[in-house]
């Protein structure tokens, strides 16, 4: 029997072996709805859906073209025969949809031209595979995000300020580039420089209220940040849902493990040898669960684990205490000491944790160990940044009382926070660059994946500190853009020098999901809480900045609402402010509704899970039926040698009938 097979596309009905007929999908293609029915289906869809449906059919170009032409002919026949009067409304709608589509096409073309690093990413993917590539793609995403936030801040806050700015007559020496203080104090880089007045253009009567602009721009920026993070997180979760089933069953993954991105011959050979080693390992693996540990060994294991956790927490606490006391005594000392110390801590302590990891290496499979390390590092970073925030926020409050040092304090209040921010930023970059070089000499090719541990740990911290600083240094995204550029090139160079791609593929998509989650949960929510405390509870500085003279920053908004109250046309804004944004009931009701919807979705998921299990069992049973019937048929056929032709036809028709009943059941 010449196998029908998928290799003979669109050749019409060939001879099919009985086995093929019973196979669900192949059966569908073999006695699929005839072309007529398919074309009728397609003709009834809207044109966009039709295009998508044709794109999705796994046929050759020629066949797709034929189908498309037939569908178009069918459509013209229908519209001619049915003489429907096209409403001018629908015509308008159609025209607008068409022009919108063309506009989108044109826009995507231009955006394509602006793609950064297209070639570099392709080379990296070709040499090192998709998992490494995904980190760089993520970095690119962060970079575009920062460009967007920079543009927003620049256009709404900085440009008006630049129009109404005073000349800067502070001295400038090179040290300022490192500390961020001094000359830069009186530039648009810092919050203190922004005026609290309304900037007016003399000719027209339109005025620009700097206070409101500041709050609203930062507020809208955070809202957009929030929505885009939630959206990316949801999209990532949905695509890469971390199914616990995927952790078991390593053999079936071989079906989808080859990375078609790799184009370098040496990299291909390397990947093949890695896969071979992996296969051999998995074949001879003795899983830890199978080992029956004696009670003593189990206690010893738990004890070691606890000890390591205690040590990590202790080190983190010690670092925090050190940072706190250093910052307290730092008022008059050089401003560079604190940032250097913090950066060094952030870079060296993860090494200690990795050393601890060596002790635990024998207890845990690699990916769990990596997650543990990640947890500890994130915790350390949160702790240090938390202490710094606490210090900055409290320091601002207490220094208010030091009237004697008013002028000095003024500069400190406004500028110290972000001066240190900037310095922190710089030092992270410079020291990480050094670390890369040391890494390169110390760690040889085999441990290539270790590099990306530090890569991952580094980024949330950077992103986090930038968001805090953005309120006090609106042009911080520009700094971040520069630092991301530097990071990209440093990483790329160190990667290229490192000869081997990582040994084991780190489930890149799940790592990306985890990372976006880290960006959202400790990083963004932490920033939001710090911002909330700053805006609602802390009194702004009296000498500088756009909120001078107010008791709290939020008073700018309430003052504006009071003014609006006097205009009758904007009473609805006032109503919204008092009854929706300002009331607790509204948020309570909103929360309850969201919780109910979440619960409903959860129940739907549970129901679907049960359905999947039932269908799985059903398929297994049908497979057994199939085997049984096949055996029966075989015995029938062998017991009657050379059956007449009509009987053969009858038996194949019987097959078809059986298939129909089977497939309709499914």
């Amino acid at each position: 029997l010449k196998g029908w097979g998928l290799g003979q596309r669109g050749r019409g009905e060939g001879q099919a072996s009985p086995m093929m007929l019973l196979d669900g999908y192949n059966f569908f293609l073999y006695i699929s709805p005839t072309e007529e029915k398919l074309i009728k289906n397609l003709a009834s869809m809207s044109s966009r859906e039709r295009v998508k449906a044709i794109q999705k059919t796994p046929k050759t170009m020629k066949e797709k073209r034929d189908i498309r032409n037939k569908v178009l002919m069918e459509k013209t026949k229908k519209s001619v025969s049915s003489s429907i009067q096209i409403n001018c409304c629908t015509q308008c709608l159609y025209k607008t949809a068409l022009s919108y589509q063309q506009f989108k096409n044109g826009l995507s073309e231009y955006l394509h031209l602006l793609q950064l690093w297209q070639k570099t990413l392709k080379v990296i993917g070709g040499k090192f595979g998709t998992s490494v590539l995904s980190y760089f793609v993520f970095l690119k995403w962060l970079l575009t995000f920062n460009i967007f936030s920079f543009l927003v801040n620049f256009s709404f806050i900085t440009i008006p300020q630049l129009i109404a700015s005073e000349p800067n007559n502070l001295p400038f020496n090179g040290l300022e580039l490192l500390t961020g203080a001094g000359y830069f104090k009186k530039t648009v880089l810092y919050y203190g420089f922004y005026t609290n007045s309304t900037i007016t253009k003399t000719e027209n009567n339109s005025s620009y209220n700097m206070q409101l602009a500041y709050i609203f721009t930062i507020g809208i920026y955070f809202i957009i940040c929030f929505f885009s993070l939630v959206y990316s997180m949801a999209k990532s979760f949905r695509k890469n849902f971390i199914n616990p089933q995927t952790y078991s069953g390593s053999a079936a993954k071989l079906l989808c493990i080859w990375d078609f991105n790799i184009t370098n011959e040496k990299a291909v050979k390397l990947k093949q040898s890695n896969l071979r080693t992996q296969m051999k390992e998995s074949l001879s693996e003795v899983t830890l669960e199978v080992l029956n540990l004696s009670l003593k060994q189990r206690i010893a294991r738990i004890a070691v684990h606890l000890l390591v956790w205690m040590a990590s927490l202790g080190i983190a606490a010690a670092c925090c205490a050190g940072v706190y006391f250093l910052s307290r005594n730092n008022l008059q000392a050089a401003t560079l000491v604190l940032p250097i110390v913090v950066s060094l801590l952030n870079l060296l302590i993860p090494f200690c944790f990795a050393l601890f990891g060596l002790i635990e290496k024998f207890q845990y499979p690699r990916h769990q160990l990596y997650l543990l390390l990640l947890c500890r590092n994130v915790f350390l970073k949160i702790a240090i940044i938390g202490i710094l925030c606490y210090y900055w926020l409290n320091d601002v409050a207490t220094s208010e009382k030091e009237v004697k040092f008013c002028s000095l304090m003024c500069t400190n209040l406004c500028h110290k926070t972000h001066g240190q921010e900037l310095a922190l930023n710089y030092f992270h970059i410079i020291l990480s660059k050094h670390q890369e070089i040391c890494d390169h000499w110390r760690i040889r090719c085999v441990k290539g994946d270790r590099r990306f541990h530090t890569f991952l740990d580094f980024l949330p911290c950077l992103f986090f500190s930038c968001r805090i600083g953005i309120f006090f240094a609106p042009l911080m995204p520009a700094m971040q853009i520069i630092s991301f550029f530097i990071i990209f090139y440093v990483k790329k160079v160190s990667l290229m020098r490192n000869c081997q791609p990582p040994r084991k593929v780190w489930r890149a998509s799940q790592m990306t999901t985890l990372f976006i989650f880290l960006l959202f949960f400790p990083s963004f929510t932490g920033v939001l809480s710090v911002m909330a405390v700053t805006i609602w509870r802390r009194t702004p500085s009296k000498q500088c900045g756009p909120f001078q003279g107010l008791t709290s920053i939020i008073d700018a908004v309430s003052g504006w609402i009071h003014i609006l109250d006097s205009y009758s046309s904007s009473k609805w804004v006032v109503w919204i402010y008092y009854n929706l944004i300002g009331s607790v009931h509204f948020f309570f009701i909103l929360t309850v509704i969201v919780l109910i919807i979440t619960y409903l979705y959860w129940q739907i998921i549970e129901g679907r899970r049960i359905m999947v299990r039932l269908l799985h069992e059903q398929i297994i049973n049908e497979g057994k039926d199939k085997m049984f019937l096949l055996n029966k048929l075989r015995t029938l056929q062998t017991s009657k040698p050379d059956p007449p032709k009509e009987q053969q036809e009858v038996s194949s028709k019987a097959w078809v009938f059986l298939c129909c009943s089977h497939s309709s059941d499914k």
Binding site: G7, I54, K122, A251
Partner: protein, 190 residues
């Protein structure tokens, strides 16, 4: 790029955009790279020519791929079965391997690429050839007989739901759906 753009008529470009997942730039780039594979005289009638498999395999994106032969054979519509590809076959291939292709179509074609004997299912022989491609073709790089048997047994145990000894398309797609990295690794970009 300007020269090749003038050779590909606008309506054809629009048609290709509708029938494949490729964007305009990708189609134009494909046109350029395909014409480089032809000799100068043949470039005039690019749409009618077929490029032999050996030429296609000189592309740097396919050169080192262990599945390159199967890719050419699957996407080629040549009557002789020699794996030669026309420009439209080339576009078909790039469309399936592009970023915007859906996961279903990728898994459908991945199934066909791994189906070495073109019989519509992945049986033991197909899986054996697949594993050999993954580990390398040399004698010292292959797995031993017993390891191969054990490995194939494991694969079938985990993916063959109806227990008929072969993996059909639905079972294959089920395995693929549990691996979120598949769509990003099943990609070839010019």
């Amino acid at each position: 790029m300007g020269g090749s753009a003038s050779q590909l008529p606008r309506d054809l470009l629009g048609e290709y955009q509708e029938l494949t997942f490729l964007s305009k730039q990708e189609i134009l780039l494909a046109h350029k790279r395909f014409s480089e594979l032809l000799s100068k005289e043949e470039r005039e009638s690019i749409l009618q020519k077929r490029v032999p498999k050996s030429q296609i395999l000189t592309l740097p994106e396919l050169r080192a791929n262990p599945f390159r032969d199967r890719i050419c054979r699957v996407f080629s519509t040549s009557e002789d079965g020699d794996g030669s590809m026309s420009f439209e076959d080339f576009l078909d291939m790039l469309s399936v391997f592009s970023d915007s292709a859906t996961s279903e179509i990728k898994s459908h074609y991945a199934f066909r690429i791994f189906d070495f004997d073109d019989d519509g299912t992945l049986d033991r022989k197909d899986l054996e050839k697949l594993v050999n491609c993954l580990t390398g073709e040399g004698d010292e790089t292959r797995l031993s007989e017993s390891e191969m048997d054990q490995l194939i047994q494991n694969i079938l145990e985990e993916s063959d739901i109806d227990k008929d000894g072969t993996i059909n398309l639905s079972e294959f797609q089920h395995v693929i759906s549990r691996s979120p990295d598949f769509a990003s690794s099943f990609k070839i970009v010019l």
